[in-house]
């Protein structure tokens, strides 16, 4: 019985113990990844802004409200303030 379990752990690459150990071994050092992380935050926030907020309370695309009108339903449904 015991032997059986050990064999199965070795065969299955995503058992809990194995996966935790692997994840621990591969912690990502912050210095190498910083450019990726910073760009991801910037793009993520920009998308969040354009879909949720732009041309409502504030607007970077000037006086038209095309963005606002296009994503209008999603904006309401996602919980953003809208009118």
């Amino acid at each position: 019985m015991d032997g059986d379990v050990v064999v199965r752990i070795e065969e299955n690459p995503v058992t809990t113990a194995g996966a935790v150990a692997r994840a621990k071994a591969t912690a990502v050092p912050a210095s190498e990844t910083l450019p990726w992380l910073i760009s991801a935050v910037l793009v993520g926030l920009a998308l969040y802004f354009f879909i949720g907020i732009d041309q409502g309370a504030v607007s970077v695309f000037g006086d038209t409200s095309y963005v606002h009108e296009l994503v209008h339903d999603a904006r309401h449904f996602l919980g953003f303030p809208c009118h």
């Binding site: 907020i53 296009l70 339903d73 999603a74 449904f77 996602l78």
Partner: protein, 285 residues
């Protein structure tokens, strides 16, 4: 794995989650939104008829349509849902990358936990104070104040969760993991509760108080004549309820799919590394 791998997988998982939320929105959001728009138009007509009867000149012509309702209700809502899926997928990937390998959780469990934290802070906690509202609920004049207040709730929730996690880590050795997490939960709820009680209700904004007296929300009241008789009803409570339940469910779906798909993709990638001659973290994405 590198940060690039996580960010790309965040975009993929977020896009998939957005597609699922889009399908959900087509079925469950659009009927409520259409009912809300019908209410808004009916009320507008009633108000104008009233004004004309009172001697005002007819306003003539409705609002100009920039994007047709047909596009808004299909493509527009899709762009919004998929776009927000990718947006939160990117932010999620950053949080996940910083935690990966630093906590004793297998990747798919960590992914679901981070997604749950995102749902809690970015949507669910702000929703308690300022719930999602269909068209017709929410005044044009207060959009600036409402946006600012909503963002205060979002940022506050993120800060409070960080504080709760810090408290949990401090107490973990003394109280054990279970009790430390419970204390962290109490800290989060207490801080969020304090912020909610300090911030004004939308009906308490000055413009709204001047127009219709102090109220908690902006949900339209019935239109009455001078004697108090109802000329046009208030906003349908059932439409409001169904819209909000659907909104909450869609966000749970969005974050849930994001966490599950992302966790699955990461574990599959790690398993591939493992089988590929035990030479992981080489150059593949």
């Amino acid at each position: 794995m590198e940060a690039r791998s996580f960010v790309l997988r965040g975009v993929i998982a977020g896009g998939v989650a957005g597609l699922v939320a889009w399908l959900f929105a087509l079925v469950f959001a659009e009927p409520q939104i259409n009912a809300a728009i019908a209410y808004e138009e009916g009320r507008g007509e009633a108000e104008e008829a009233l004004a004309v009867a009172g001697g005002a000149a007819p306003a003539g012509g409705g609002e100009e349509e920039i994007v047709s309702r047909g596009v808004q209700a299909t493509l527009g809502v899709g762009i919004g849902m998929v776009g927000i899926g990718i947006a939160v997928g990117l932010l999620f990937a950053v949080a996940y990358t910083l935690l990966h390998g630093r906590v004793a959780l297998r990747p798919r469990v960590l992914a679901l936990l981070v997604a749950g934290a995102g749902f809690l802070t970015i949507y669910a906690t702000p929703f308690v104070k300022y719930p999602a509202s269909p068209p017709a609920v929410g005044s044009d004049e207060t959009i600036g104040d409402r946006t600012a207040l909503y963002l205060v709730m979002v940022i506050g929730s993120l800060v409070f969760l960080a504080a709760a996690v810090a408290v949990t880590r401090l107490l973990r050795e003394r109280l054990g993991t279970w009790n430390a997490v419970l204390v962290g939960g109490v800290v989060y709820v207490a801080l969020a509760g304090i912020l909610m009680s300090v911030l004004p209700g939308l009906g308490e904004l000055t413009i709204n108080v001047v127009e219709s007296g102090p109220r908690v929300t902006e949900t339209p009241l019935p239109l009455r004549d001078a004697s108090g008789a109802i000329l046009y009803p208030g906003f349908d409570a059932d439409v409001l309820y169904h819209f909000r339940v659907a909104s909450f469910t869609a966000q749970a779906l969005l974050w849930g799919v994001l966490g599950l798909v992302f966790g699955g993709l990461v574990e599959r990638r790690l398993a591939k590394n493992e089988t590929a001659g035990r030479a992981p973290e080489a150059s593949a994405v």
